[in-house]
Symmetry: C2
Subunit: 389 residues, 2 copies
């Protein structure tokens, strides 16, 4: 078998949302299709990928470096012994002539194509990706259901506490019982009012997480931690710069709050430094590395290996990104759950047109591959791109 | 004053050179010109920049994110109190809506424009950049001469020890007395033969550094260290992954060899982690962070601040990249020297058509700005791009 074409396009995200650090209205997504010569149901198998949510399209790096290397590789160099696409070999080809260090952007470009390759591999095997992953890496069955939480609570321009409560009610109506809101974009007092307003919406079985998006210095992070401790929050996410491991260690040593971080850790070696230096506590804290932003599932398996060696169970992983790819990874590898974006990053937060969330749990889709074919609004973008084929 | 246009282009580098990790034949450079409405000698002042050597062009990120933000900014938001371009304000504009973490590629794109902005600022003040930097940040005069060393000794296909010696003789003929060769692309035995061959060319006042380009695991790094210690090398560069701080610390604790690293550290927070965790020794080791690859001089000043706070003198800094921008920074801020690429990365390693190296020392050019106007082969690329203006 061989890859016959790789297409990519840029899709704008239009949103009036901001968090403590950025405004999403200019955000873009790269979409990629890896076309193979394997025929199923009379049509070539096409793997589909996009670059997760929250960073930018990577057309320059895709078109100048990553895609040309794959297309220039001899087809055999991309295949495993059984003669099917091997994402690990493809990964090595994509990273040819790339220096160590500097893990950002490139990691997103590679991760985007990696997603499409895994989609193609699972489609060729006619299995949901979660099933394929469970068989390959757990020797068993995927989890039949996955914890998901609703990431929201952004600072909409002009939004007040009533608006926040209405937003949260919307998530509860959709079946979420764990909700995350942003902090750090306002004063501590105002953030505490927002937390109070959010908690008013939740009963004892429901929970709230908060996310500072890396905004705080140590003093502020500690000040927030002291103020947040009485609230029994699910977690306190990215208090400081995601690479300030010393800040993290000082905070972890001084709070009982569960910490969560990793969405801005983009490689296995950066993840290893996080585990070595950030003082995170395996029984308490959460690792949120996004398998697309950080060079794809091939690299994510290296991250999981580091976690195991450092005493972390994979259930402590709840990936960033709110995408269907990570939902399969969570179900297939037995992780702790997955982020979901019920409102923002539309349509790339879709888990499927007919998916039902109940008590913050979903079943991964049963379509072959990742199952974007069950997400009509995502497929509209892929179909528009593939129309040029 | 205002920016009236920003142009960019991609220039291929054609080279048959490889080091332990990569093949440079596919390498590219982004060049950027920031056109202002300030008139000098009847022509608009134009700041010129390129993205250093050894990584890739960044046209996607430049055109989709960095340049549009600068062009969309109100002109006043880019000016200091005196009404001239402020690279710090421009930096904040370029980084609008960029998340923390993921420092690579983007850092190169921002650094490229930062170089052009500093060139423009110094041209507007009609001073060499080194002079401007010395006045602003040292309250004095720039160094009149700067240590430079010849980075080479790559593994050319089919090259033998005679070839390596001929290459080194070429550097000595050009006036270099410190030379760096690659290791790690062959067995230890072969690398030791290469080192012996190189040292045969040098007298007692001349010195040799070696560079493994991040290839080794700890065991190999220690094995090489033990073998290299008898040689009195100038330094042992990037033994392991540039982000594997634990490897670095273990090595530093077990060798008397000076270590050198930093060319693949791309942000101030990554630099801070290097200083915190890598076990480097301020009196012994060298920091080689490239001020272009790592978000430009604006961010590099933050790196220097971290160095100062951690007990490092700036003379321990010898930046990567072999470009004229870093030569000005070295002279202006009083650093330990600068890399030079007499043969590779042509023409972007040029320090000027008439520059003379003597005993591994050069004088920074006296033209206003960075002085690319004195590098005819570099200017040919900028002129070709500016012809479209």
């Amino acid at each position: 078998m061989k890859i016959t074409a790789i297409l990519d396009d840029i899709v704008p995200i239009r949103s009036d949302i901001r968090n403590a650090v950025i405004d999403f209205s200019q955000m873009t997504i790269s979409i990629v299709a890896v076309v193979t010569d394997v025929i199923k149901d009379g049509k070539p198998v096409i793997g589909l990928g996009f670059n997760s949510n929250g960073r930018y399209a990577q057309q320059g790096i895709l078109r100048e470096r990553i895609i040309p290397r794959l297309l220039a590789a001899s087809p055999d160099s991309l295949l495993d012994e059984a003669g099917t696409l091997d994402p690990f070999k493809a990964w090595a080809v994509m990273m040819t002539n790339e220096k160590p260090g500097g893990h950002g952007e490139r990691s997103v470009a590679v991760g985007t194509v990696d997603m499409a390759l895994w989609d193609a591999v699972a489609k060729i095997e006619e299995k949901p990706l979660s099933q394929l992953l469970a068989e390959r890496y757990r020797g068993g069955e995927p989890d039949s259901s996955v914890f998901v939480y609703a990431a929201g609570g952004y600072y909409y321009p002009g939004k007040d506490l009533d608006g926040l409560q209405a937003e949260i009610q919307g998530y509860l109506n959709l079946g979420y019982s764990t909700v995350k809101i942003k902090i750090g974009g306002a004063s501590l007092d105002e953030d505490l009012r927002r937390i109070d307003a959010a908690l008013q919406m939740l009963d004892g079985g429901q929970s709230l997480a908060v996310d500072a998006n890396g905004r705080f210095d140590l003093e502020t992070a500690l000040q927030y931690a002291r103020a947040l401790e009485p609230y029994q929050l699910k977690w306190y996410e990215e208090p400081g710069d995601p690479l300030d491991f010393q800040l993290s260690a000082a905070l972890a040593a001084n709070t009982s709050l569960p910490l969560a971080t990793g969405e801005n850790i983009f490689s296995a070696i950066d993840a290893l430094n996080l585990l070595r230096y950030a003082g995170l506590r395996p029984p308490v804290d959460y690792i949120q590395i996004d398998p697309v932003l950080s060079y794809g599932l091939v690299e994510y398996l290296r991250v999981l290996d580091h976690l195991t060696r450092h005493g972390w169970g994979w259930r402590r992983c709840i990936p960033h990104g709110g995408h269907l790819f990570a939902l399969h990874i969570a179900a297939g590898l037995g992780m702790g759950g997955n982020e979901a974006y019920p409102r923002v990053f539309a349509p790339f937060g879709s888990m499927g047109d007919t998916v039902q969330v109940e008590n913050s749990v979903v079943q991964p889709p049963s379509l072959p591959g990742i199952g974007f074919e069950g997400c009509s609004e995502i497929m509209a973008h892929f179909d528009a791109m593939l129309g040029s084929l």
